[in-house]
């Protein structure tokens, strides 16, 4: 990002692209007003594997869709302003659109395979977006970390989904939820659930995978606001919420979710205090909020579903604007370090207004949708009678959230201005309107909850089907307000006022970093490259004789295994068939060639001799009923010898005979030859299944109109294999040309 320069680079701003999510949002709203949920759609895709493009939109999906498209609209507006100086913005917008479609697919997919595909697509697009500033090593490392962790979790998720699908006998999410109670006694459940949870936890940055999310802040701010606060990181939450009705009664489920959620929420809140970068502070508090959401899903009470959807909604409505505020500050001042930011409200009044309103919601103070969410959460907890420890933990987490809101909304905007007036000024309308709009939407929902109520209730009922009719706005209770909100506000205020002192106290604990999961990730990654280097040195040493030794040893070992584990009646007999003379000629050619290669000292002579061996084998093929193979062998052998002969003389004519291991090689070669002979004889005595060959032979003419079975197999029966082969052949040239060109350049310079 270029700061300070106010000349916009030429080219389109892509503001019109905001019409894409806007259109989708309006479509969704129109559909919700007109048709009852759930909506279904299905298109057959791979019928032989039971995979169909099955989509199902119920309350929870609709809520996620509203967030993806609604917040997405404002993100696109914001990005068109934020990226005005970025020459590669077209690329970023393209990936953003792709991400949005992947997200839409993931939250509407009903088929497990389809869900997994879109899930992974969000990981890939996230990787591209985090690593967008790829000239920076830190951005590359962060992108790789995000990819490895979310994709590793994705693999676990795939395993879990396959198990769940097998257990339920249904490859749809709705089928699994419907089969829920019946699955509890299945012996595969103890494997399936941890795998699924691993996928959800990595995606939603739960402890101990929480560290990738703050690092992902190297992405441009619109991306952080969209992917890493409002949408993608909620995907894990979404999946857990969707599966919750099936496994809610399970102790394992409850303990894992409440335990992991609580630890994540508390630990991320503590880590937020250690940061000075405004964006990273917000990222830590996002992780904390994701922990709270996980904890809420784990609660067994019917009110929990309502709390989850309300908090999910509220968090997106205040965190995305706060990220935009951080981006605006970065854009205007060139820093995000809270030590250097003060009194910005005079220079950036509209951004300040958005920050204060979003901060109110984050702190859960009245007049904001965050207040409604906090209310729903305390109701859910009082219903569920959670452990006292969890209760204290949530008070602590909420207090830190209040403090973070204070830092982002008050600390950087109030107080005396740091820099002289006139240097810093308000950003363009495309950057302050989006946060204000989203925040005002949140406040509107507080005054007119009827606007959001139906959607949130429908979403909550997918998590807690037993939930009755509730009016979110009617939940105001003076006692709740005083006990929960009042207390967290007071404690939060204390945290806010002592922020710097707490920060310095925690900063002294930096030795802890050496033992955290992030350090473990680093050392695992380093170990991986070390092992790769070690095994490459061991196996890919570049000495041909070494490769041959290994190949022959492997051949002997395999042969010995087959010899010992199969029962064969070997009858060796000499059959004076009509082609006997041809066999003799072939054997003579091969033996002569091999002998000459062994004795000759001239490099060209050795090459010709080895070519003789190839010709001998071709003669064998010719009379053993494989004329095509013989044909190919002749052609390959000729080309090889001719090309090698034209290149070889550069390396000198004489072959060195003083090679180490010469006698070992000789013994090994004889052993491999004898072993192969014995093995072939042995295989002759084994029954051969000729069904496939017979089938191809029978079908060749009637089905494929060809007399040459070999060719028919290549171009028709197994045409896909052939296509793959020629793609490999052609693309290997693509890879080799730069290398060969590189050799040339290295020589001439």
């Amino acid at each position: 990002m270029s700061h300070g320069s106010h000349t916009e680079t030429h080219g389109p701003t892509y503001l019109w692209l905001a019409a894409v999510p806007l259109t989708l949002f309006l479509l969704l709203a129109w559909g919700l007003a007109r048709y009852d949920l759930p909506w279904r759609g299905e298109v057959s895709w791979i019928p032989s594997l039971g995979v169909s493009l099955a989509f199902r939109i119920d309350g929870l999906s609709a809520q996620m869709l509203a967030l993806i498209t609604g917040i997405g609209t404002w993100i696109f507006v914001y990005a068109s302003g934020y990226l005005a100086h970025e020459p590669r913005r077209g690329q970023l917008f393209a990936i953003l659109i792709l991400f949005m479609l992947a997200m839409i697919g993931a939250v509407t997919a009903d088929n497990l395979v389809v869900l997994f595909l879109f899930w992974e697509l969000t990981s890939i697009t996230s990787f591209l977006l985090v690593g967008f500033n790829h000239e920076q090593a830190s951005a590359r490392a962060a992108a790789r970390q995000a990819l490895l962790i979310t994709m590793g979790g994705g693999l676990a998720l795939l395993g879990g989904l396959v198990l769940l699908g097998q257990m339920a006998g249904s490859w749809t999410l709705s089928g699994i939820v419907a089969a829920g109670p019946a699955l509890v006694d299945d012996p595969r459940l103890p494997y399936a659930l941890p795998l699924v949870l691993l996928g959800a936890f990595t995606k939603s940055a739960q402890f101990p995978f929480h560290f990738w999310l703050p690092n992902a802040m190297s992405a441009p701010t619109p991306v952080s606001a969209y992917l890493h606060s409002a949408t993608m990181v909620k995907l894990g939450i979404y999946l857990m919420a969707r599966l919750d009705p099936a496994f809610n009664d399970l102790l394992f489920w409850e303990v894992m979710l409440i335990g992991t959620g609580t630890v994540t929420a508390v630990w991320a809140a503590v880590l937020a205090l250690r940061e000075r970068d405004l964006k990273r502070i917000l990222a830590r508090s996002t992780v904390s909020a994701l922990g709270t959401l996980t904890l809420l899903i784990g609660l067994p009470s019917p009110g929990a579903g309502l709390a989850v959807v309300a908090f999910l909604f509220a968090h997106a409505l205040y965190k995305a604007p706060l990220f935009m505020v951080a981006g605006n500050i970065d854009h205007a001042t060139g820093t995000r370090n809270i030590d250097h930011l003060m009194g910005l409200r005079r220079a950036m009044p509209l951004t300040a207004a958005a920050a204060v309103l979003a901060g109110l919601s984050m702190a859960g103070l009245p007049l904001s949708f965050g207040f409604v969410a906090k209310d729903a959460i305390s109701i859910a907890k009082s219903e569920a009678e959670v452990l006292l420890l969890v209760s204290y933990a949530t008070v602590f987490v909420n207090a830190i959230a209040v403090a973070v809101a204070g830092v982002a909304a008050i600390r950087v905007f109030w107080g005396p201005p740091e820099s002289p007036r006139g240097q810093v000024h308000e950003v363009s309308w495309r950057m302050f309107v989006p946060p204000l709009a989203i925040v005002l939407l949140g406040i509107e929902f507080d005054f007119f909850p009827a606007l959001a109520d139906p959607l949130l209730l429908a979403a909550a009922r997918t998590i807690s089907p037993e939930l009755g009719a509730v009016d979110l706005s009617a939940a105001y209770d003076l006692n709740v307000l005083l006990s929960a909100t009042g207390m967290t506000a007071v404690v939060g205020l204390l945290f806010f006022l002592t922020w710097d002192r707490l920060h310095h106290a925690l900063h002294r604990l930096h030795w802890l970093d050496r033992f955290g999961p992030a350090a473990l990730y680093e050392s695992l990654l380093n170990a991986l490259t070390r092992i790769a280097a070690w095994q490459t040195r061991l196996l890919q040493h570049g000495r041909l004789s070494g490769y041959m030794r290994l190949t022959f040893l492997a051949l002997l070992a395999m042969g010995a295994y087959i010899w010992l584990h199969t029962d064969s009646r070997v009858v060796l007999q000499w059959n004076w068939s009509t082609h006997a003379w041809a066999w003799i000629v072939a054997c003579l050619l091969i033996v002569t060639g091999a002998g000459a290669a062994l004795l000759l000292r001239d490099r060209l002579g050795v090459l010709m001799a080895s070519g003789l061996v190839g010709y001998g084998s071709a003669v064998l093929f010719l009379f053993a009923g494989a004329p095509d193979l013989a044909f190919t062998q002749f052609a390959v052998e000729t080309v090889l010898v001719v090309v090698a002969a034209s290149v070889l003389p550069r390396y000198g004519r004489a072959v060195s005979r003083r090679e180490p291991w010469r006698w070992v090689n000789g013994v090994l070669a004889v052993a491999a030859g004898a072993g192969t002979f014995l093995l072939l004889a042995h295989l002759q005595g084994l029954p051969v299944n000729t069904e496939l060959a017979d089938g191809f032979g029978r079908m060749s003419l009637p089905e494929a109109h060809g007399h040459n079975v070999v060719n028919v197999i290549i171009v028709d029966f197994r045409a896909l294999d052939t296509l793959g082969e020629i793609v490999v052949v052609a693309f290997s040239l693509l890879a080799a040309l730069p290398l060969l060109g590189g050799i040339r350049k290295g020589r001439t310079s």
Binding site: D628, V639, V643, G706, N708, N711, I714, V715, I726, V729
Partner: protein
């Protein structure tokens, strides 16, 4: 390397002869030994002969396309042959036959031929280029 005058004179006619043989091998492949792979290899042998005697530049000039585009057009042709089946509502790579005995099988085999010819001559020319520039 000293050049043989005989070989230099014979290279061009031999090249065209080998190319003709290659095409003949390609076309007879469906019913007799032959096909795209082998035909492609024979063509590679012809191009190599030309490249070794008269230089890669001459051999390149006598190919319809540069090696890499040639190989890629072969892959494209094979893909296209596969898509013809899709267009008629059948699975990918189901071959379509006309009444005259022509079919997408041939298109596919020509694709294989071009892919082999292009890719391997690409290697040969690049290796020869490297060899030529060393003293």
């Amino acid at each position: 390397m000293p050049r043989s005058a005989l070989l230099t004179q014979a290279a061009r006619p031999l090249y065209w002869l080998m190319l003709a043989a290659a095409v003949w091998i390609l076309l007879r492949g469906h019913n007799a030994p032959g096909g795209g792979f082998i035909g492609g290899l024979v063509a590679v042998a012809g191009s190599s002969l030309l490249a070794i005697t008269l230089g890669p530049a001459v051999a390149r000039r006598l190919q319809p396309l540069a090696p890499l585009p040639l190989a890629m057009s072969g892959v494209g042709l094979a893909l296209l042959a596969g898509l013809a089946g899709v267009a008629t509502g059948m699975p990918f790579l189901t071959h379509v036959w006309t009444d005259m005995g022509l079919s997408t099988v041939m298109l596919f085999d020509v694709g294989v031929f071009l892919a082999v010819w292009g890719a391997l001559t690409g290697y040969v020319f690049a290796l020869l280029d490297n060899g030529r520039q060393t003293p």
